[in-house]
Symmetry: C2
Subunit: 390 residues, 2 copies
């Protein structure tokens, strides 16, 4: 047998793995399959060109149509627009969605000489664990409950000698559990980061989607150890690929260089388009209210379907975002193929597991799919569950 060619080697390099969810979505798109699997926003809740105000002003966007050499926010207004609570442009780097923000932070944090460790919520966001692994970081999963990351568990690991470079969290409406980090834990997490010298990467794509009357989540305390990531993908458009990093200016200056190697800069056209759309704060605010109303109805529809057809499911309490995390109390390893046979798709908890098994849990999404079909979708899921556990 001859040695594999470089092309064969590179084609079979298993550092690069597809998202389980993305592969699953191929099945979820088969005719007749109702999907509770996706994590994309509900199309009908996003602005269309007809409904949106102000319209795209091409003569203004023309600046972007031309040239831009800046990796940083195209204009102070865009930077402050993306992250309205942090108008200091030296703290902001606009990125191609928050996935790129995460990739850039991960590249910067990767040690060229030794394996570095990243702490991540367990279960945790698949797009994050993928990117950490692809850069050679070792993952340590720390449990999540209804108050978010088990910071006490992390403190125990740190006391026992764990020395991570990064700790990745979704502070608000975590993917997949929907849990929000409590103010007390957030405070303690930042203290630990300062004591043990690691950086907290707070990725907050769902923060605008608080669906209950409770106040929105408490942000993490200010600290040079905190890197915040944000995204327009859930509130405005995933197709525009606009996200941002909000961090200590010294880190942002380095991240701008990493970004320069990665893709020079984020589309100025899209940056200015977002700034245009958000410049009408009355419209933007009304749009966000509309989004929240829409997701509130969708969540209620899914929750009532779960209560009706899966009465034994334990649903993690959540205040918004896109997901219900349901512990079915039985091993669901073989549920997915049965569910697809019954015409419904979901994501098994195991797909989000880092170190701790999540084999009895499933993630159901109310962000996409037809909400009038949720009842039927969960009925099919319950039938599949009965078939696999009988």
């Amino acid at each position: 047998m001859t040695a594999p060619t470089l092309l064969q080697q590179l084609s079979s390099d298993d550092r690069w793995t597809s998202s389980v969810i993305r592969d699953l979505l191929v099945h979820a798109r088969q005719p007749g399959v109702l999907s509770l699997a996706g994590g994309l926003p509900a199309v009908e809740l996003l602005p269309s060109s007809a409904a949106r105000s102000p319209p795209i002003d091409c003569s203004r966007s023309e600046v972007a149509w031309h040239c831009n050499t800046a990796s940083r926010a195209a204009s102070p207004s865009c930077g402050s627009c993306c992250s309205r609570d942090a108008p200091d442009v030296d703290r902001i780097l606009v990125t191609a969605g928050s996935q790129q923000a995460l990739d850039l932070v991960t590249r910067l944090a990767a040690s060229p000489t030794e394996t570095s460790t990243v702490v991540i919520e367990d279960p945790g966001y698949i797009g994050a664990s993928q990117v950490f692994r692809s850069h050679g970081h070792q993952l340590v999963g720390i449990g999540v409950d209804a108050d978010g990351l088990r910071v006490d568990e992390l403190a125990d690991h740190l006391a026992a000698g764990l020395r991570p470079r990064l700790c990745y969290v979704n502070p608000t409406f975590q993917n997949p559990t929907g849990a929000t980090l409590s103010a007390e834990r957030a405070q303690r997490l930042v203290e630990l980061a300062e004591t043990y010298d690691f950086l907290v990467v707070a990725d907050d794509p769902y923060v605008e989607l608080a669906l209950d009357d409770r106040p929105a989540a408490t942000p993490l305390p200010e600290s040079p150890q905190v890197i915040r990531l944000g995204s327009m993908s859930k509130t405005l458009s995933p197709g525009l690929r606009i996200g941002w990093i909000d961090a200590d200016p010294r880190l942002v200056a380095q991240l701008a260089l990493v970004k320069q190697a990665a893709d020079l800069h984020t589309s100025t056209f899209n940056q200015l388009l977002v700034a245009d759309v958000m410049s009408d704060s009355t419209w933007w605010s009304a749009h966000l209210d509309g989004l929240r109303n829409g997701y509130r109805q969708r969540r209620a529809a899914l929750r009532s379907a779960v209560d009706r057809h899966l009465p034994n499911a334990q649903v993690t309490p959540q205040g918004g975002g896109f997901f219900l995390w349901c512990d079915l109390g039985v091993d669901v390893d073989t549920l997915l193929p049965a569910a697809l046979d019954h015409g419904v798709a979901f994501v098994p908890g195991a797909a989000f597991a880092i170190d701790q098994p999540a084999n009895t849990s499933i993630r159901l999404s109310y962000s996409s799919g037809d909400q009038t079909q949720y009842d039927e979708a969960v009925r099919r899921l319950a039938a599949a569950l009965a078939a696999t556990t009988s």
Copy 2:
């Protein structure tokens, strides 16, 4: 002295260096400085929203405003549009400009276990050498003459034991020399790639900008060892960040996974916008003719200024693109500060050097700046040269 914190370490990590050119452009933007340093397209030659036909159709682009989970070309029409000679969408991955294309190829080619070697033209494109270095590849520079990469020199190195993973070339109107790879050398290069099992990365952003009556460059022969990179940044808009990879489908499938980790996918909005603009082939063709006419005039203006004020300069013969590569015959290490004092900016050859010194050469760009000022700009440069060599 206490150990540096992680933030201090990451902030001073010298793997991430700014482009010399980008830093230089800060000086070049001082009032009164005429710049021959930039590499961006001439703004007035790119379509404005007023002059462009067809206009952006928001109702069509609305698809993109919504959601897309595909890393691959948003639609076959967009893929084939970007790379009209290769309508096989399995060969195409649309990227955030060709810089990202290069970054993805480099990430895929980086060996996790050993230092890998990349061959690059010497002098070569700074954005490429930066990205290779940032991923830990070792660079080997191979000389360039008026027929492009010295493939004979590469063959000698290979015969002597060099085993690169990648060989990076600008086949047409190379940055910085303007040289085009001859058909004979292209053929030989691909044979070497097949014999020694390396991949040729053919980055061709200037290929549409042939300014002489000679036929356009011969493309590299078809081979699974060839990865072609393309860009809309020189012909349509750098601000849209649309480029592409055209390669063996097995590599493209892997590169799509690397891209998924990097930023999920390229803005669908921008992909469809480009497809819209290019769908009118009569208009597109007339636009390219207009671009070429504009650059032909600009090149003539710069060339005549060089002939007048720097009569001893040896200009590498070129057939298009953006640059004149001038060997001044004397060491120009101290010319740049003097030139800035005299009110003119350029890029020293040394900035592009890999292994071989380029201390007597400079790169002058006719792609930006006011062409009516070229004569004055080169007059100032000659005055600065006289002041530093007297």
